[in-house]
Symmetry: C2
Subunit: 419 residues, 2 copies
């Protein structure tokens, strides 16, 4: 590596890290992109893997393939364990040290149980392909067991699914589970019928989709109810134990509980002893640099960046992408100064045929919003093949109500325990 | 269940069990199809999942969906643990007993290590989706680790892949690994190049594809060599330990060892204390009935049925399908008498563009054979959607040399150990 070409290390190949690496590809820098996974994951569609509509490979692309033609980008499968900022070195789990001239931290977020870590085992979250396959397995197994269960109470429990958290992820997940349990598979079973299934969406605050205007939030609520989802607002979860969720004044037993109530940043702030908010996001400078670290940028879910309203920008793909590009442009000397987020609207979908979009000045809901949502998601999928496959899978699901990826995998003898 | 409608229990939803259930669907019988998996697996293409060309859901279909419209077919996710033939009952792991009037055993086969069970951990076989994902993970991880390995000996070991067994499965697997390691991913890596990789196919007998005529076998050998596969015949494996395979006069260390050397029947013969061959297959009557059990049929890999040459029919899908139909027809009173297998040819493929077909009177090899092989496999895939997706995936792989399902999943911190 000639000393005249600066070495940029990017940690994390999510939307932010990928956008930065793409911006730096082919430029007069050497780039090393480190991720502990070999694939970039299109997380906005992960809930569709969890609900058997798509296959993992449809929404994941090998990071190496994305940069096959970028000779100055090296991809490294490894896990970062710390940073020695004084010597400008990244510490790795498997390989030797990695020296950098510039460092971009795009390490993303993981579920947060806000101090109730014991809840994780009962109510898994949805961040990785393994998470999605585990949830898919649990939901499908519950229906299989319900088919042969003769005790009505136990059958009801098997067919009860609870989603905790009424943000976009929770809303999408609840809608998709309701479609799966109440529509797609109903003709396949002999004993259970659609109206046996209960899907409950639990939200601590006064409305679902709290980041959307109340009008759209009400539309989303109505659409979910039409799909058969029961909605509980102002119902903070008090306890999750023994397959039961206690929320508001209720306590409900369920076969599957999905956690969509919150995330926290990866431990990047701790690596640098940097100041962070309560979710672990580093309070970066307005140009995305970590304070006192001129050569380190933090982006995406790793950073707390205030928007025009003073509140932190949300943890969504467009924010991370634009930040990755902004960090890369500063390294290339193309621009300097504060990052400003350009919003193209806020989207959430509710099952087949319905979505809500907040353009800011204008709002959209219903079938047209769903079409826009679909095209936007297919368009941004990495790789032409994924676009075609996902597009066709959706068309197929739409026309037939079938779910094509209904596989229970993991162990040869599947058992689940309910109360 | 009215007593006038006989109850047929089918154990196993592989090719044989599925064919029997389809033949009985809509007829004046009640059918219960038991499988410990929720999906039928198109095993002939499983090696393509192991080598990252297809996704699991592309070659698997939920058993329930297949029989959604057959009101007289009930699907049960459970594992059979034994049979009480005197009381005509099947014993299950999870549910209660299942009484039958007719029983069809189509329980299939599993790997056999011929008494060397310790080899299984070192050299996994390929029978389930989990097997395929584990092999995929191992092969892809080996290449990732080779990319950063600086010691040349260790790098060579990481890039050495051994397939044990020169039957159709071993030949297809070796060809597919060679394409993956030497073609598809070569531009994605910076340090490793195609000629670093070694793929060795080890066969104990004098020729690969022993069930094919020597001329086709030689053609297959030549095609494999052109793909870069090293072939060792007359090289029975003496030992597999510590990541090394000892065969013939050699001992070679490898990162991935795949077992394709043999299978044995599931324990159905033991359930009935029936006479069986050394692979565990029941010696059935010529009408496929288990001796002394007028109401029990054994088919597919569970049964030893002599062909016209006196040797047992091979464990391939067409044999199992025709036997399933024959058993069902006898239950329906449509026919009686001995089963005769009608062969439509014997196929094996060797990577992209090459295959061999033995029609008996005529032989075919090369690109045309590969086209026929492709169409045959797509045609017999369960479900229209799978056909479309697999067809498109193949076209895409063919045109671009890409492998679209290159995901390493399982644990967040992947490590593999080599000697």
């Amino acid at each position: 590596m000639a000393p005249s070409r600066p070495h940029v290390v990017i940690v994390g190949a999510g939307f932010g890290g990928l956008a930065a690496a793409k911006r730096l590809a082919g430029k007069r820098v050497d780039v090393t992109l480190v991720d502990r996974r070999n694939h970039h994951l299109f997380q906005p569609l992960l809930y569709q893997v969890a609900t058997a509509a798509l296959s993992p490979a449809d929404i994941a692309a090998p990071i190496r393939s994305i940069f096959a033609k970028a000779a100055n980008v090296r991809v490294l499968l490894d896990e970062v364990t710390g940073i020695d900022a004084s010597k400008r070195r990244v510490l790795l789990s498997r390989s030797s040290l990695l020296a950098y001239d510039w460092l971009i931290l795009a390490t993303g977020a993981r579920h947060s149980y806000f101090g109730r870590e014991g809840w994780e085992r009962e109510a898994p979250g949805l961040k990785s392909i393994e998470d999605a396959i585990a949830i898919r397995r649990r939901v499908l197994l519950a229906m299989e067991h319900a088919e042969t269960e003769t005790d009505p109470d136990r059958r009801n429990t098997l067919l009860t699914f609870i989603v905790v958290g009424g943000g976009p992820t929770g809303v999408e997940m609840a809608g998709a589970i309701a479609e799966l349990a109440r529509r797609s598979v109903s003709s396949d079973f002999r004993s259970i019928t659609p109206h046996c299934s209960r899907v409950i969406l639990v939200e601590g605050g006064p409305q679902i989709l709290p980041s959307f205007p109340p009008g759209l939030s009400a539309k989303a609520e109505q659409s979910l109810r039409e799909l058969g989802v029961e909605i509980r607002t102002n119902a903070p979860v008090r306890e999750i134990a023994d397959g039961e969720v206690a929320f508001g004044g209720e306590r409900v037993a369920a076969s599957s509980i999905v956690w969509a109530a919150g995330v926290e940043a990866s431990p990047a702030a701790q690596w640098l002893s940097a100041e962070h908010d309560r979710l672990g996001r580093i309070f970066v400078e307005r140009d995305l640099r970590v304070p006192h670290q001129d050569h380190i940028f933090a982006i995406g879910d790793t950073a707390n960046v205030p928007g025009i309203d003073g509140r932190a920008l949300p943890g969504i793909a467009p924010v991370a992408k634009q930040q990755g590009q902004h960090a890369a442009d500063q390294i290339l000397g193309r621009c300097s100064g504060p990052f400003t987020y350009r919003s193209f609207g806020n989207l959430a979908t509710i099952g087949r045929k319905r979505a809500v979009i907040d353009w800011g000045h204008h709002q959209q809901s219903g079938f047209l919003a769903w079409l826009i949502w679909s095209f936007a998601h297919i368009w941004f999928l990495i790789g032409f093949r994924s676009r075609v496959v996902v597009g066709l899978s959706w068309l197929w699901n739409y026309l037939t109500y079938q779910r094509s990826a209904r596989l229970i995998t993991g162990t040869p003898q599947p058992h689940i325990r309910i109360k």
